[in-house]
Structure formats: structure tokens, C-alpha cells
Amino acid sequence: MKKPRINSNIIDIRNLHTRYGKAVVHEDVSLTVRPGEIFSLVGGSGCGKSTLLRAIIMLLQPVAGSIRVFGQEVIGLNDENALPLRRRWGVMFERGALFSSLTVAENVGMVLREHTHLSAALIDEVVALKIALTGLPADAGAKYPNELSGGMRKRAALARAIALDPELLFLDEPTAGLDPLSASGIDELVKSLRDVLGLTIMMVTHDLDLLWRTADRVAVLDKGHILGIGSMTELSKLDHPLVREYFYGPRGRAAREQAWKKK
């Protein structure tokens, strides 16, 4: 939509192995993310979801395997060659990771100032636009991160992640720690970002509501292996004790019923 896309996968992970010291995190993980889809990683705490995300965004060096993003191998890529790639994706960290000494507007503007040649006035306007796009009130821009509520901080982090109009967006636990109202606001936001800006989104989440409402495809991770990949409906039919527990536990059932009612 934005740039002519080659008809191939946005992310292509093949036989990935990662380790933290001696602890094995991933064993032979393979998955692909297609253009324009909302792809989600789920699984219990400590199953390596966030680690996989960190490996893709080059914060962690895997032991073996291959990760291709936009067709380029990211493992072993040096900083200089990684920069053009990094500009094409945005990352929203679990706890926001907003720079606490800068205001929200400065946080978002910093990315633009660093990587584009736009005039200061235009940058300020684009920043205000991004802040508005994430559903924050206009006066939030002048505030410091510690003056914002948890939900607003997530939105501000999202505004920073989409500052450069990335083609690919990584979200780490976008709804963690939010009240149901703010969380469903994030659901809508994620969907509309994908629809309007044509983003490909890869997220890590525990939030079943978010999954039912937004995810096109989901990968279930457990103990470093992928148990299954598919749409939520497909996964809910999968016959694996852990997957069944995940989807048919009390919370899973409620979320599923909610999702059906909506449809």
C-alpha cells in the first residue's frame, strides 16, 4: 500500500535456536508473518515470547537459525546495515520505555528529528498528529511520562513507535496492566492502525480478548516449541492439552463467547 511490496513474507523465521546462558529458550522455531496481517505470539509466562521478539528486533543474538525481516537476514547484521531496517519498523515495549526526561511530544519528535530532514515546524505538527492518532488528548504532548496514567503511557509509547510511519510494528504486551476499558480502546487502535496505515503487526500478548478481536493468526509457544499456528478459530480446535486449557479455561471461554457475540 505505502511502498510497492514484494509478494513475500514480512518476517521469516527458520529453525531458530536461542539460549540465555545455559537455559534453552527456543528450539527449532519456525514461523512466517505475512504482509498486512496481525500476528500474535501467545503462551505461558517464560515460554520465550518476548525473547523471540527481542531476537527479531536484534536485541538478542540467537545461537542458530535464520530470521529474515523484509527479506533481509538480521542475525549478525552490524549496526550500520541494521539502521535502514530499524527505520522500517516500530517497537512498543511492554512498559512503554518512554524517555522519562523528555515530554511525550519530545519522545515522539526525537525519532523524527533523528531520522528525517523535515523542518522543526512540520515535525511538531506530525508529532501532534501521531499523538492524536493514538487517541491521546492534545495536551498530553506537553506532559512528562510520569504524569500520565498507565493507559496513556501505552498510547504515548505507540505514538513513538509509529513516528516514522513504519511498515512493521512490534507490540510487546500492548494491553498488560490496563483496565478493560483502556484495553478495548487499544484493541480498536491496533485494528485501525493496521487498516488505515496498512501496517503489519506482530504482537506478544496474554490478552485473550485482544486476540479474538484483532489477531489474524496466532502462534502458541510452549517450552521453546511452537504448538500450533493458525487463526484463533483454528487453534481453538487444536487437540493439545495446553492449548485446550488456554482456550477453554474459564477466562478463555468468556473471551471466546464475547468474540462470538460480537460477530
Binding site: 511502498k3 535502514p84 522519562s100 528525517t116 523542518s119 512540520l122 505538527e125 492518532l133 506537553a142 488505515v196
Partner: protein, 379 residues
């Protein structure tokens, strides 16, 4: 590597048509990376009045929010001057984006941060200083109350953190304190040797090194090293805990942060600093003794004999008695500044700096006061 595509535009004036119309032919990548070259030209766009302006975007290959905003902004600016605008060659996928931008355009007003005037900022600064002084006093009071309470109920004393602090602030400071103090002794002997030799008063090197180290230099030097090593660590630790809401968590669990974090530090430092000072005394005198031997040919035995005559118990005690006072200053300032941190990582850094500067300043002021008092008392 992907070459960054840029946006292009071309202005075509058609005077034959009535009313006169101007077409802006937009092409290329109207993206955040690409629009910079056309931004200037669009801002400075001047048009004949009462004409129609057409933006032909059929050749635009990519459009993102920055590009869409620039287009939207330009169109609005032109319309305000009474010229009608129109977009031609609109692709459906760009339409949603442009509509979204138009819907949000009202909210887009960059917020200017409020800047205080000179007078206001002076007032604010003065007010903050006042608050700071009263906060410090309150903190000292709170520490005193906690201390008294733990005297009444000795079970409340937390030995574990005290021992831990003794190790980190005391034992682990031994190498650096010893080395610096030794060097200080060497330097004093070196500087003094030359002068003393001129008067043939070589033997007084023991008086010079002994008195200056014991009375003044080693307590001061040790206090400054500890302020830099441990005072800063206290401020950083408590500041980070404050920001992570760990201090609040302690309060809700029913543990006073004073009791757990401040008091053990004060107690440990009050024990450790005098001990470190004695150690520094020894190291300093040793340095002086070595220097006296090599430069003035004073044997160790002679030096030590002279040292015994030169030093009285009071000269040792006047040095040592300062150490607990310095310790209280360093621990209190470090902890207080830690509690003052708020909000950002920046503020932890700032408070840590302030804690070191303030505690060294106060230590030297206290040292000067001691000199005056000892002078009165004729010590």
C-alpha cells in the same frame, strides 16, 4: 540496500482555462523520509488570486501520515487565502488516510511548553530552596525519632543491613582509602623535606607528617572518599527505589523506609568511618616514614621515636572525633537526596550529583567549625 525515494512536485499554470487554474503535479514517495525536499516549496507556494488549485496526486507512489499531513496542511493554507482546492487522481487507498488526517486535523496544534519569566523563575528557585531546607530538617528529625525509637526497642534494629553496609562502605573502601592516604603521606613528607632540610630540622618531618595526617588530612580525606563512594551510592539506590515505587511498597507493607534504608546506613557509617580514619592515619604516616627514610636518611626507628614524642593522645582523638560527625553528614545527605528523586532517570542522576557535592561541602564546613572549636578549647 534500498535507496530512499523522495517526493517531487511540479507546478503547471494553465492560463487558457477560465477561471485560471494551477495544477500541482505531485509525484514520488510522499513519505516521512521523502517529503523534506518539497516541504519548503509548498510552504512558500504563491498563487495568482481567485484561481483554482488542483493537486494531481496520480503519480504519487507512496503516501504516509507525514505526506498526507503536508498535503492537507497546504490545501488548508491555500483555501484560507480564498482559493478553492481539489485533489485529482486520488487512489482509494490514499483516500482513507487523507480522510483520517482531515478528521484529526482539528486537534493538531503543537502545544508550546509554558516558560516562566525571569522574576518567576527566581521566585520559584527561592521557594524550592526554602522547601529543600525545611525538607532536610524534617528528614533529620525523622531520622532522630527513628534512632530514639530503636534505642527503646533494640529488637527493631536491623543488623543484617547494618553488617552489609559495614562491608560495602567500610571494608570494601580499605584499598582505596589506604592507597590515597599513603600517597598523601608521601606528598607531605616530600614537600616538607625540602623546607626542613634548609633549617637542618630534618627530624621534625615526623611532627609534620604525624600531626597533619592525624589531626586534619586523614579524617577529611577519608570522609571525601566515602562521600564519593558511598554517599552517591545511597542517593542512587534510594532514588531508584523511589522511582520504582519500592519506597511506597515498603510503606504499605508496614516497614518504615527510614528504619530499613536510612538508619542502617547511618549506623554502619558511624562505625566504619572512624575505623577507616585510623587505618588512613597509619597508611599516611607509613608513607611519610618511607619518604623520610629515602630523602632525609631518617631511619624508621628514629622516626617512630620522634613520632611518639610529637603526638599526644589528644592529637589522635581530635582527628578521630570528627569522623562520626562526618559519617552522619554523608549518610543523611545521601539518603535525603535519594528521597528527593522523582519521576525520571534524570532526576536520580541529578540528586546523586547534588548529594556528593553537598556532603563534601558540609564535611569541609564541619571540619572548619571543628578547627575553631578545638582552638577555643586549646587542643
Amino acid at each position: 540496500m534500498i535507496a530512499i525515494q523522495i517526493a517531487r512536485l511540479e507546478i503547471v499554470t494553465d492560463t487558457a482555462a477560465a477561471p485560471a487554474s494551477v495544477t500541482v503535479r505531485c509525484a514520488g514517495a510522499w513519505t516521512v523520509q521523502g517529503v523534506a525536499p518539497v516541504e519548503q516549496r509548498l510552504t512558500a507556494l504563491s498563487l495568482p488570486p481567485a484561481s483554482e488549485l488542483v493537486f494531481d496526486i496520480s503519480a504519487v507512489s507512496a503516501l504516509d501520515t507525514a505526506g498526507a499531513w503536508l498535503l492537507h496542511r497546504t490545501m488548508r493554507a491555500v483555501e484560507q487565502r480564498g482559493t478553492t482546492t481539489r485533489i485529482s487522481g486520488l487512489k482509494p487507498e490514499f483516500d482513507t488516510l487523507l480522510q483520517l488526517i482531515a478528521a484529526r486535523a482539528e486537534v493538531v496544534q503543537p502545544v508550546e511548553p509554558v516558560k516562566a519569566g525571569l522574576l518567576a523563575s527566581i521566585g520559584l528557585q527561592a521557594w524550592r530552596s526554602l522547601i529543600g531546607v525545611s525538607g532536610m530538617l524534617a528528614f533529620i528529625g525523622e531520622s532522630a525519632v527513628t534512632f530514639l525509637r530503636s534505642l527503646i526497642q533494640p529488637r527493631r534494629i536491623r543488623w543484617r543491613p547494618i553488617l552489609h553496609n559495614l562491608q560495602t562502605a567500610g571494608f570494601e573502601a580499605l584499598p582505596i582509602t589506604g592507597l590515597l592516604s599513603f600517597l598523601m603521606g608521601v606528598v607531605i613528607a616530600y614537600q616538607g623535606a625540602d623546607q626542613l632540610q634548609r633549617f637542618g630540622a630534618n627530624i621534625f618531618i615526623a611532627d609534620l607528617v604525624g600531626l597533619s595526617m592525624l589531626r586534619e588530612l586523614s579524617p577529611l580525606l577519608t570522609a571525601i572518599i566515602v562521600a564519593g563512594r558511598s554517599g552517591s551510592a545511597y542517593a542512587a539506590q534510594i532514588g531508584t527505589m523511589k522511582i520504582n515505587e519500592e519506597i511506597d511498597a515498603l510503606r504499605t507493607i508496614g516497614i518504615g523506609p527510614q528504619e530499613l534504608l536510612v538508619q542502617p546506613k547511618i549506623v554502619a557509617l558511624v562505625i566504619a568511618l572512624p575505623l577507616l580514619t585510623v587505618y588512613a592515619d597509619v597508611a599516611g604516616v607509613l608513607g611519610g616514614m618511607l619518604m623520610a627514610n629515602s630523602m632525609l636518611d631518617i631511619s624508621y626507628r628514629v622516626f617512630l621515636d620522634r613520632l611518639e614524642d610529637a603526638l599526644s593522645l589528644s592529637s589522635f582523638l581530635t582527628g578521630i572525633i570528627k569522623a562520626p560527625v562526618f559519617a552522619v553528614i554523608i549518610a543523611l545527605v545521601g539518603c535525603y537526596q535519594g528521597f528527593q528523586a522523582s519521576g525520571s532517570a534524570d532526576s536520580v542522576g541529578r540528586q546523586t550529583t547534588v548529594s556528593v557535592v553537598q556532603s563534601i561541602f558540609l564535611v569541609i564546613v564541619a571540619d572548619a567549625l571543628f578547627s575553631v572549636i578545638f582552638n577555643w578549647l586549646d587542643l
